[in-house]
């Protein structure tokens, strides 16, 4: 186990190093920066600021500095917000996490239940309906369904607020605050669940169909067990097992925010922060964000691997 882990960790570091280089070069390549784009500044002031931020140095040197700081836990300083990138992340990340955690949880619960039932009743009208719904969910353009629901539910019917996390100017506290946040997050959560539901339900459905054809399910039935027990103890345990690997892959989505949904619903999360900074070409923040997601992705992959090995009694390290 330890040699395997060491190998994986080493490879992880190499990939992250390469990713950091690539990310840095990509952003460094992009012409124009926060200072050039700012029309309020004079030419001299611009040159001065470039000097201060070290933007006039060669690319490789800037990369070296960036990496050195990163190793010291400093992911740079947002030029637009005049705050350290890490602090900005910690300000916004929990909003993103709230949205992502609630919708991920709901998505999993619904996907497992619907997937199990439709696998059990394969080829029934319910199953056909589920299959069509799965395809529909997988084919939704995320921004369009977001806009569409805002238009109908928020603008036309006025049932729910169209965006944001709290009503503008509101200073509600306690339970009232909680209620307000829940009302505001309903629509984005619905959209995120819709978007995630398709592939996950399909995954559980096909896993479950595979498992239900196994010999040990026949054995369980031959023992005279109740169908519910066969389904939820014998079959579901086996069908859920491979899904453990997905937990790791959810990691970037859980903490990385959703660029499109947060932007459309004006949700003050890390994804929206990215979109805002992108317009301003606030590179330290953009690079920090991209690197952050890359790190989460790599850790998530490793986590999946370890979890699977822990969970499946057949796989030995």
């Amino acid at each position: 186990m330890s040699t395997y882990l060491t190998k994986r960790l080493l490879y992880m570091l190499v990939i992250l190093f390469a990713a950091s280089l690539l990310i840095f070069c990509l952003y460094a390549l992009t012409p124009g920066d926060f200072i050039t784009g700012n029309i309020k500044l004079t030419a001299e002031r611009k040159a001065e600021l470039r000097e201060i931020y070290g933007l006039n140095k060669p690319v490789l040197e800037r990369y070296g500095l960036w990496m050195k700081d990163a190793f010291h836990g400093n992911f740079g300083y947002s030029l637009a917000q005049q705050k350290p990138v890490l602090q900005l992340f910690s300000d916004y990340i929990w909003n993103s996490f709230l949205l992502a955690a609630v919708s991920t949880f709901l998505t999993w619960v619904i996907a497992v239940i619907v997937g199990v039932i439709s696998a059990y009743k394969q080829y029934s009208w319910f199953d056909t309906l589920v299959m069509v719904a799965i395809f529909a969910a997988m084919s939704l353009p995320s921004f369009f369904i977001g806009l569409f629901l805002i238009k109908i539910l928020a603008v036309d019917l006025k049932w729910l607020p169209p965006g944001g996390m709290i009503t503008t100017g509101s200073n509600a506290t306690g339970l009232a605050y909680l209620k307000e946040v829940v009302r505001h997050m309903t629509l984005p959560v619905v959209v995120m669940v819709l978007l995630g539901l398709g592939s996950l339900t399909r995954y559980f459905r096909s896993n479950m169909i595979d498992v239900l054809q196994q010999d040990y399910i026949r054995t369980a039935r031959a023992k005279g067990l109740k169908e519910r027990k066969v389904l939820f103890t014998h079959a579901l345990r086996n069908a859920l097992l491979p899904a453990i690997t997905l937990v790791g892959f959810e990691l970037p989505a859980l903490f990385g925010g959703s660029l499109i949904i947060e932007q459309i619903f004006n949700w003050p999360g890390i994804g929206q922060l990215y979109m805002k900074s992108f317009g301003l070409r606030d590179y330290p923040l953009l690079m920090g964000f991209t690197m952050f997601i890359a790190i989460l992705t790599v850790i998530g992959t490793l986590l999946s691997d370890i979890l699977y090995r822990v969970a499946d009694p057949r796989v030995r390290l």
């Binding site: 990939i15 390469a18 990713a19 084919s139 353009p141 995954y203 970037p252 660029l259 890359a294």
Partner: protein
């Protein structure tokens, strides 16, 4: 069930099945899947609508008509008109040409790239495998959307003429898409290499090229067809996201994505929904049809991969 597998074993030597070719056999199975056939029907309809439809429209010149600004759907303009008095239905069809072309072309590119690199990695292994798969890992580590955004921003900053942006968007989508495909093809190659018929090919002393093109690639063609089909839908979705955020194909070249951009304008969003709902529904209809058809194909061509 054991009984089922026994039954299929019995059916195999059937003379009737052996007569028809693998292709005709698959086609017959596909025709049985009503859902897949209707998906294919919708895809064909969308293509016909977008590529032939505009010939029947009196508004293809996109002349600016101040008298007909922002009209709601009516008898002369079935889906209404936009802020410049252009017919939305015609615009949707013209945009569809671009969106479908981008989807198709970027699919072809990513499948070619992915299949070729994956096959090389899986077949030759060693150094080639190391290099290709490490690059793929790297590209898969960096989140796709920010990557596409950076590319999009580069295009804008470099002042690429709008006519060419479409081609570069295709290229961008392929760069983001190939690693996944390459990984899958490589996996297939690795497992095929170990199979008996490949060992037979080695024993027979066939040349590398013959082994690769004569024996290995034909075996992954079904998988590739399925992946390619499903990939078109994904590419259409990605293009629409990029164009919606103003980083993909830019006006005046219309695409479904940049038509929905109208929703970014508060007044158009609230009061002129016919500007942005039809292109959105077109994307949805096209992609769902492609996905359903692709899944039907998968059932027929590659039943083991059903997932």
């Amino acid at each position: 069930m054991a009984a089922d597998s026994k039954l299929t074993k019995l059916q195999r030597p059937q003379a009737k099945l052996q007569k028809s070719s693998l292709f005709r056999q698959s086609l017959r199975k596909l025709m049985h899947n009503k859902l897949a056939v209707s998906g294919f029907g919708v895809v064909v309809f969308m293509f016909v609508l977008c590529f032939i439809g505009p010939f029947f429209s009196p508004y293809t010149d996109n002349k600016i008509n101040m008298a007909m600004m922002n009209k709601a759907p009516n008898l002369t303009h079935w889906l209404g008109t936009d802020a410049l008095g252009r017919d939305i239905l015609t615009r949707v069809m013209q945009a569809g040409r671009i969106s479908l072309t981008v989807g198709l072309a970027s699919m072809v590119l990513s499948v070619l790239l992915g299949a070729l690199l994956g096959a090389i990695a899986g077949y030759y292994r060693g150094l080639a495998d190391q290099i290709i798969m490490r690059v793929a890992d790297l590209l898969m580590t960096i989140p796709g959307l920010p990557l596409l955004f950076i590319f999009g921003a580069l295009l804008s900053e470099w002042k690429i003429p709008t006519d060419y942006r479409m081609y570069i968007v295709m290229l961008m989508l392929s760069i983001v898409n190939w690693p996944g495909l390459a990984r899958m093809v490589r996996g297939q190659m690795l497992s095929l290499r170990e199979r008996e018929f490949m060992q037979a090919a080695v024993v027979l002393g066939l040349r590398d090229r013959r082994k690769l093109f004569g024996h290995l690639l034909p075996n992954i063609v079904p998988l590739l067809i399925v992946m390619a089909t499903l990939n078109i839908g994904g590419a259409i979705l990605s293009e629409s996201v990029l164009s919606f955020f103003g980083l993909g194909v830019m006006p005046p070249t219309p695409t479904w994505g940049n038509m929905i951009d109208a929703a970014n304008n508060m007044i158009d969003f609230q009061d002129h929904p016919w500007l942005w709902i039809p292109p959105g529904l077109s994307i949805f209809a096209t992609v769902i049809a492609i996905n359903i058809f692709g899944d039907g194909l998968r059932d027929v061509l590659d039943p083991k991969q059903k997932r």
